[in-house]
């Protein structure tokens, strides 16, 4: 098991936003996390990545407990994040954004080689190498955000709202990059509000609603009524079905 999240609870001050989120991700998988706005998806992702301290619960990456560790330590443990809205450093150049993505790498030569490799893998951003990242289109920024996250050589990539605000062609490019990253020893968790889109690439899907997670099933097995219930906020079914690890 690459990532195991057990009964995660997270608050902003006195307000609890995530009550009980559990999920499991194995090597070689793309796992989708769906749910309506303000369901707690992004908060869960940030808590897994160390940007928020969970009130309770446990997060293990490749068997190591990373609960409550700093984001910089978690990156070094093998987890990288592409946050919602891309959060490209717009005043820096495209190349500088990539250099930052590799800031946890110790060998300079390796970093240079990896930057060149990223430009080969993502030719659309290579042509803007020395341009300010803020000048890129939305799709190019999302590709840059993914390329930047991959610079840390993660084993697990968390992508928040991968397709938000992108054209269908850009979404295709972004999803192709995620599929290319997924391999025998690496995995991806994609947070997505668009169920149709996530169903095209995710192997398994979890739902988060009102701060609670639920395992929906593997691709092709998901019941449309379940999804409607989640988006319409029918809680009783959610609570019944929540299990540690999320797998039924």
């Amino acid at each position: 098991m690459l990532l195991q999240v057990e009964q995660l609870a997270v608050s902003y001050g006195a307000l609890r936003v995530v009550h009980e989120v559990s999920l499991e991700v194995s090597e070689g998988e793309i796992v989708g996390l769906i749910g309506p706005n303000a369901a707690g998806k992004t908060t869960s992702l940030f808590a897994i990545a160390g940007a928020l301290k969970p009130d309770q619960g446990r997060v293990t990456l490749d068997g190591k407990d990373i609960t409550g560790r700093s984001p910089e330590d978690i990156v070094r443990a093998g987890l990288a994040v592409v946050p919602e809205g891309r959060r490209i450093l717009s005043s820096l150049t495209v190349e500088e954004n990539l250099r930052l993505g590799g800031i946890s790498r110790t060998k300079t030569q390796e970093l240079h080689e990896e930057i060149e490799h990223a430009f080969e893998r993502f030719p659309r951003i290579a042509e803007h190498r020395h341009s300010k990242a803020g000048h890129l289109s939305g799709g190019e920024q999302q590709l840059l955000a993914i390329a930047r996250a991959l610079m840390a050589k993660p084993r697990l990539l968390l992508v928040d709202e991968a397709s938000l605000g992108l054209s269908p062609i850009a979404v295709e490019a972004v999803f192709a990059a995620l599929l290319e990253f997924r391999s025998a020893d690496r995995a991806v968790v994609v947070v997505e509000h668009d169920v149709e889109r996530i169903s095209t690439i995710a192997d398994r899907i979890y739902a988060v609603s009102e701060g609670r997670s639920r395992y929906l099933g593997a691709r092709g097995e998901i019941d449309r009524e379940d999804i409607e219930a989640i988006y319409l906020g029918r809680r009783p079914e959610m609570e019944e079905a929540t299990t540690v690890g999320g797998q039924p």
Partner: protein, 295 residues
């Protein structure tokens, strides 16, 4: 004509000093969103180190002063600001005032509240004659040192990993951490650099005034803050530009205001700053998000 050139040199020299003050303030604001008023205490402390050690060779005194500036900045970061990381801006600002007052009080306890005269090296008060102009050596030193520091800082910020991380921190600190940037190291380096800049500014300032007292850095840090606001909070280039513009404006007003109004020079300077901010609240090189955060 000679007079004009003389004023230009004076303006650049004063602007260079203001730029150093502004860069010190701007670096800390960039990574912590903190206007560190303790920066004035770092300058004051540099003055006292000069006062205590001035009888030794300048080759010993200057490195000692710079080390003291770096050390006090790192210590205050570790003891006062690190435990408050993540606190809101007003808490951090109160902490910075507290640190400044604490250092002032310690110096008053040790040396009293009166000003101390520093028998500064005689060569800095000499002038050299260039194409009929008497140029003070100190002006040349100020311009040269500031130019080297600004270029050095630019190279550091653009060519090194830590510099790149500092620029990223100025834009989105959380994202830097999510990419693996070491927050503690970035902040500590920013403080060390601000301490270094404060100490260098202190050496140049006290070489002009030859007097140090417990409250002497307060005005300097305010000038640095104003210059940073002119350039745009969060922008290192803006801080340097704001410093030079403030120095140039101060010198220009000094030269052109009639006798009856020259006493109000600073009022005109700050009036011009307010006018600039009305039309461009984010400063010359800042962005709107920073302006909104300041409001």
């Amino acid at each position: 004509m000679k007079e004009v050139v003389q004023y230009v040199i004076d303006g650049i020299s004063l602007g260079a000093l203001d730029a150093l003050l502004a860069l010190g303030v701007g670096l800390i604001f960039g990574v912590m969103r903190l206007v560190n008023f303790a920066q004035g205490a770092y300058i004051m402390l540099a003055g006292y180190v000069l006062f205590f050690t001035i009888s030794a060779s300048w080759a010993v005194v200057i490195p000692l002063t710079l080390l003291a500036g770096i050390a006090i900045a790192i210590i205050t970061e570790r003891v006062a600001f690190r435990p408050l990381r993540g606190a809101d801006g007003s808490t951090l600002m109160v902490a910075s005032f507290s640190v400044a007052f604490l250092i002032q009080s310690i110096m008053i306890t040790i040396e009293g509240s009166g000003p101390k005269s520093i028998p500064i090296w005689s060569f800095v008060s000499e002038s050299i004659k260039v194409i009929g102009l008497q140029i003070p050596v100190l002006d040349l030193i100020s311009i040269g040192v500031s130019a080297c520091l600004i270029v050095g800082l630019w190279l550091f910020l653009t060519r090194t990993r830590t510099g790149l991380a500092m620029r990223a921190a100025a834009e989105d600190f959380q994202m830097l951490r999510l990419l693996g940037g070491r927050a503690t190291r970035v902040i500590a380096v920013a403080f060390a650099l601000s301490g270094l800049l404060a100490a260098i500014a202190g050496v140049l300032l006290f070489s002009q005034t030859a007097v140090v007292g417990p409250e002497v850095g307060t005005d300097a840090v305010l000038i640095g803050f104003v210059a940073t606001v002119i350039g745009g909070l969060g922008s290192v280039q803006g801080a340097a530009l704001g410093g030079f513009l403030l120095g140039a404006l101060t010198t220009a007003l000094q030269a052109t205001l009639p006798n009856g109004l020259s006493a109000y020079r600073d009022a005109f300077v700050f009036g011009a700053v307010i006018a600039l901010l009305v039309f461009r609240p984010q400063g010359l090189l800042g962005n709107r998000a920073d302006a909104e955060r300041v409001v």
